[in-house]
């Protein structure tokens, strides 16, 4: 006998046979792990690339600046620059005007930086280009494009770029290109020319400051703070990156949690696959233990088996994740369409640490999924396990209820806790605790429900009930997978349906007019001047025109700018136009004028109803009273609504960005649109939209945003069915002698099929009921805790009864069919021979 022919390793003896009859399920387990790892890795790569690129772009654009003075997007008084430029501790102060100018004929905006070429060179050299004619940097009609902007437009030196300012065209000649390392698309022109072209005369958006050597920057910052007008701040450039990263953090964490849900479902599938595999090999493990294989070595081998599945899944997932990141970046951009990193076009790079982390995570989840079956196999008594019919003892019921109850209690408490660094960590933990607590209690819950069900008359169905009642622990594995997948699917379905319905109702509420007109579809350079607004007067068929002015204000330097919406409000009941969630009606005569804040303002700034606040307008801190809180799904960073007439009085700004037209009965939108275009001037400067169109686009964006969630719901159900098949297959294998006996005493194949179908139906039915209830509870946490703490908006609970009912019915049918398919071995001739093992 050659040495090779007799070679056998202990590991090989332990793990051999794992693939027998199990290849399909093992492959699915690998794919399930791969899905979770791919999603998580892709999200991580995109986030890192986007934030890294954004930070790099900011660093490039900030150059050597030690500090920057920022204010509202519309700018602050340029006199501040003169004061800073003369400060003895400041080496250079560089004024900047920032405008996102709409590109004519396109729904895109180009970031324009108006700079003083002589000063910018010392602070932000990335904003300077080598001009063929040195005077080009001072000309009012020239612009310099970054490489990325030139490629994007596209435009070359000598071409012209036409932008929109107000309702007029601004045509600039491309005088040069900026060889910038940043991938950001921007253009640079003279600061005075920018002020003139884009109606920013007398104001600046930013002042970049470089201090003299040896100056204490923190002390200088403290000294300058009192000099700043209201609504401006002075900070290090890096802080702006941190603020933007913080704003997108909840969104990024949500995406990561979705990926973890996929990974958890993969772990569940590994558990059910391993449970089946271990039951099948129970006698083999007992033999090895009898022959002298130590318990811990068996345990280690089975954990290695699970880790191998995890490793294979992780490797596949990392490769797929990289591809997914590249594709998503190309299609959706660095913020996956959420709008946090505009103008940034990062490239995805392989991050070894992130790859190692997610690879390890996939392996860990697979190992955890294998742990319970491995522990059971290692702990099993070899003597008992060698005996025929002992496989059923692998499914002992849980004896103690307190762990499950404790987890449920902890989960309930967790849902009541506040966010941690702005993230709903306790909310996520609460969902996990509720899920695991319920899974632990499933055998007891199943027992309670089974006892109350009437026993059917037919013998096969009655046998099924007797089986389930007598051994509820046997159904526990099947129930666990059904409950987990149904609850995850139901919770996400209810949350998405509630959000969508709430969004739809909100859109109906905030879009009461018949036609909306915008001065431009992108950027902040377009507006209706007072003279433009007069052209709306007397439009045939128009009963009322309400204008809206949009501004951004810097209230807290540590937070992003908030949005100010100055609207024409009904004088009799100003709040009628707003979807209020809270109101304060005790407004006294001497109180500051009312404003209405969004829910985010309450969460982030503490602006509760009745509170007196100050807002920075035109460089002054102006007092207001919070008269109500309204729901705003469009602006996560917070918004404030005030009467436009009041705004104009306080600021002198009479311009508007949007107009909402309410038509007379019978008037046609097309006629009004044609008339307005004839009056307003250059074609293409106005954008028209009917509320139905705006609603449709918004809901389409919503559906696209939640496409990943929909896919995960389907995956959860699919994987749950596969898990059910695996665990049911394990049960059938464990009971093959029972079926053999039943065939011997005269039950037909059809009757055994009926018995198994009844078991499958009852198990899935219980799983469905519990899963629905648990999913509903989880959705409450998603809606009222996770969403609120993440994005600072509320929504109503809407139950998608029809889809849930259809899904439940389909699930029952599929589950029953799945159990029959997986149990076909129970009806084969082999089970008849199985009883002979006992002879």
């Amino acid at each position: 006998m050659s040495a090779g022919a007799a070679q056998v390793s202990v590991l090989g003896a332990t793990l051999g046979g794992a693939h027998h009859g199990n290849r399909g399920r093992l492959l699915l387990s690998v794919l399930a792990i791969a899905l979770g790892v791919a999603l998580g890795f892709a999200v991580q790569l995109i986030n890192q690339a986007a934030i890294g690129e954004f930070a790099g772009s900011m660093a490039t654009l900030s150059g050597n600046a030690d500090l920057e003075v920022r204010g509202p997007r519309s700018g602050f008084d340029e006199l501040l620059f003169a004061a800073l430029a003369q400060d003895p501790e400041i080496a250079v102060a560089s004024p900047v005007v920032e405008v996102d100018a709409r590109i004519k004929g396109r729904d895109d905006a180009l970031s324009i930086f108006g700079v003083d070429a002589f000063r910018a060179g010392a602070v932000t050299p990335a904003l300077l280009a080598n001009a063929a004619d040195p005077l080009d940097v001072l000309r009012p009609d020239t612009v310099f494009l970054s490489n990325a902007a030139a490629a994007w437009l596209p435009a070359r030196i000598g071409d012209t770029v036409t932008l929109q300012a107000g309702l007029r065209d601004v045509t600039l000649k491309v005088a040069g290109l900026i060889q910038s390392p940043s991938s950001q698309r921007y253009a640079v022109m003279d600061v005075a020319a920018a002020q003139q072209a884009f109606d920013r005369s007398g104001s600046l958006t930013r002042i970049d400051v470089r201090v003299r050597p040896g100056v204490d920057i923190a002390a200088l910052r403290s000294r300058l703070l009192p000099l700043l007008p209201a609504g401006t701040a002075i900070a290090a450039p890096q802080e702006r990156v941190d603020t933007t990263a913080r704003m997108s953090r909840a969104y990024r964490v949500n995406l990561n949690v979705l990926a973890m849900v996929a990974l958890f479902t993969g772990g569940l599938l590994v558990f059910s696959t391993q449970a089946l595999s271990v039951v099948r090999r129970r006698a083999q493990f007992a033999l090895l233990r009898t022959l002298g294989l130590p318990r811990r070595r068996l345990l280690a081998s089975l954990i290695v088996e699970g880790a191998t599945v995890g490793a294979a899944g992780s490797l596949l997932g990392l490769v797929a994740g990289y591809g997914l990141a590249v594709a998503a970046m190309r299609i959706f951009g660095g913020d996956l369409g959420a709008g946090y990193f505009r103008g940034v076009a990062p490239a995805v790079a392989i991050e070894p640490i992130a790859a190692a982390v997610f690879g390890a995570l996939g392996i860990t989840v697979a190992v955890l999924g294998s742990l319970a079956p491995a522990l059971e196999a290692a702990r099993a008594s070899p003597a008992a396990a060698l005996k025929a019919g002992d496989e059923q003892s692998a499914f002992r019921p849980l004896r103690r209820a307190w762990p499950g109850v404790a987890l449920l209690a902890a989960g309930t408490l967790g849902a009541l806790l506040p966010p941690v660094i702005g993230l709903p960590l306790f909310g996520y933990l609460a969902i996990a605790l509720l899920l695991f607590g319920t899974l632990l209690l499933m055998p007891r819950v199943a027992t309670l429900l089974l006892v109350r069900m009437p026993t059917p008359r037919s013998v096969p169905a009655a046998l099924a009930f007797d089986q389930l009642r007598g051994a509820p622990g046997q159904a526990a594995a099947s129930l666990a997978t059904v409950v987990a997948s149904v609850s995850l699917m139901v919770s996400m379905a209810i949350m998405v349906a509630s959000f969508r319905q709430s969004l739809d109702e909100w859109l109906t509420r905030v879009l009461p007019a018949d036609l909306y007109v915008r001065s431009g579809t992108a950027g902040d350079s377009a507006f209706f001047a007072a003279s433009d607004q007069r052209k709306f007067a007397g439009l045939p068929g128009v009963r009322r025109v309400d204008f809206l002015r949009v501004q951004s204000l810097l209230v807290d330097p540590a937070q992003p700018r908030i949005v100010l919406l100055a609207r024409d409000l009904p004088p009799d009941d100003p709040a009628r136009a707003l979807p209020l969630v809270a109101e304060w009606r005790a407004h006294a005569a001497g109180d500051p004028p009312p404003v209405w804040v969004s829910e985010a303002m309450v969460d982030l700034y503490g602006y509760s109803p009745g509170r007196h606040i100050t807002l920075p307008l035109a460089g002054r801190a102006v007092a207001f009273t919070v008269a109500g809180v309204w729901r705003d799904y469009a602006r996560q960073q917070g918004s404030v609504v005030m009467d436009r007439a009041l705004y104009s009085t306080l600021t002198g700004d009479t311009t508007a960005n949007d107009a909402a037209l309410t038509l007379d009965p019978g008037a046609r939108v097309e006629d009004v649109q044609r008339e307005l275009e004839a009056r307003a001037g250059p074609a293409g400067q106005l954008a028209f939209a009917a509320p139905t169109d705006i609603r449709a686009v918004s809901l389409r964006v919503f559906d696209r945003t939640f496409a990943v969630t929909y896919a995960l719901e389907a995956a959860a159900v699919g994987l749950g069915l596969v898990g059910l098949s695996s665990s049911f297959g394990a049960l059938v294998f464990a009971r093959r002698r029972e079926f053999g006996m039943l065939r011997h005493v005269g039950l037909t194949r059809r009757q055994i099929a009926g018995m198994l179908a009844t078991e499958g139906l009852v198990v899935s039915g219980i799983g469905l009921v519990v899963g629905l209830a648990l999913g509903w509870l989880m959705s409450l946490i998603l809606i009222f805790v996770v969403n609120r703490q993440s994005f600072h908006w509320s929504m109503e609970l809407h139950m998608p009864w029809l889809p849930l009912s259809l899904l439940g019915f389909a699930l029952l049918l599929l589950a029953t069919a799945t159990t029959l398919v997986s149990a076909r071995a129970a009806m084969s001739g082999n089970v008849i021979r199985a009883v002979k093992d006992d002879w």
Binding site: M1, S2, A3, G4, A5, A6, Q7, V8, S9, V10, A13, G16, G17, H20, A283, Q284, L287, L288, R289, T290, L291, G292, L293, P294, R295, R296, S381, P382, A383, L386, A388, D837, W839
Partner: protein, 227 residues
């Protein structure tokens, strides 16, 4: 070699079942003892206690002077691995290993590999008349051939004690006779002690001593010639 002193074992459950009550047993080194008795009397339980797969409720089980009660699970496992061999009624051959690999399994567990393992497996397969079937998978072998493989596996590592639980239970009379002759011969060749649990008088007849397990303990059966 083996001593049992006042060993008792009761199984808990809806009805408490005492299968062994104050049992005493002594087996000398190299002796081959058959234990017979009614179904359910506790024969397999007795084997499990000797193998350290179960623990008595009272009494002592000593193997080569070592009280098994003083050993933890790892130590008991090591004892089985190094000093015991097992033959089962249901053969319990791993279906995904060849006959030779199944025989080699105990050697792998004690760390013997390579050419030495190959040589010993070859010799053992030859001794049990399965040299030509070393590369066969279990599904290709008959019941008698599978039991020969199991016997080879039980003896490959020269255990001091071999426990055989109904080794002929699934075999026809001709195969059963051949298996018992083989087992007896190999035990004698290695000088190993053997304990056979059986219902079969023919199988018991191959033993040096036959004991009958009854509710009140073990009793010597009349010598085979007088039965």
């Amino acid at each position: 070699m083996l001593s049992l002193r006042s060993v008792s074992k009761t199984f808990a459950g809806p009805r408490r079942l005492t299968v062994l009550r104050g049992l005493d047993l002594d087996i000398a080194r190299g002796e081959f003892v058959a234990i017979m008795g009614e179904s359910g009397i506790g024969k397999s339980t007795l084997l499990n206690l000797i193998a350290g797969l179960d623990r008595p409720d009272s009494g002592d089980v000593l193997v080569d002077g070592v009280d098994l009660a003083t050993l933890d699970d790892d130590a008991l496992t090591q004892l089985r691995r190094e000093r015991m061999g097992f033959v089962f009624q249901a053969f319990h051959v791993l279906p995904y290993l060849t006959a030779a690999q199944n025989v080699a399994l105990p050697l792998a567990l004690i760390g013997v590999r390579g050419p030495e393992a190959g040589a010993r497996v070859g010799a053992m397969l030859d001794a049990v008349g399965m040299a030509a079937q070393g590369a066969c998978m279990p599904r290709e072998l008959s019941g008698g051939e599978l039991q020969r493989v199991a016997i080879a596996r039980a003896l490959i590592h020269h255990p001091a004690l071999v426990l055989a639980d109904e080794p002929t239970g699934n075999l026809d009379s001709e195969s059963a006779a051949g298996v018992m002759t083989l087992l007896r011969g190999q035990l004698q060749a290695q000088g190993a002690t053997g304990i056979l649990v059986t219902h079969s008088p023919a199988a018991a007849a191959t033993a040096d001593r036959v004991l009958i397990l009854r509710a009140d303990g073990l009793h010597e059966a009349p010598p085979p010639a007088m039965r």
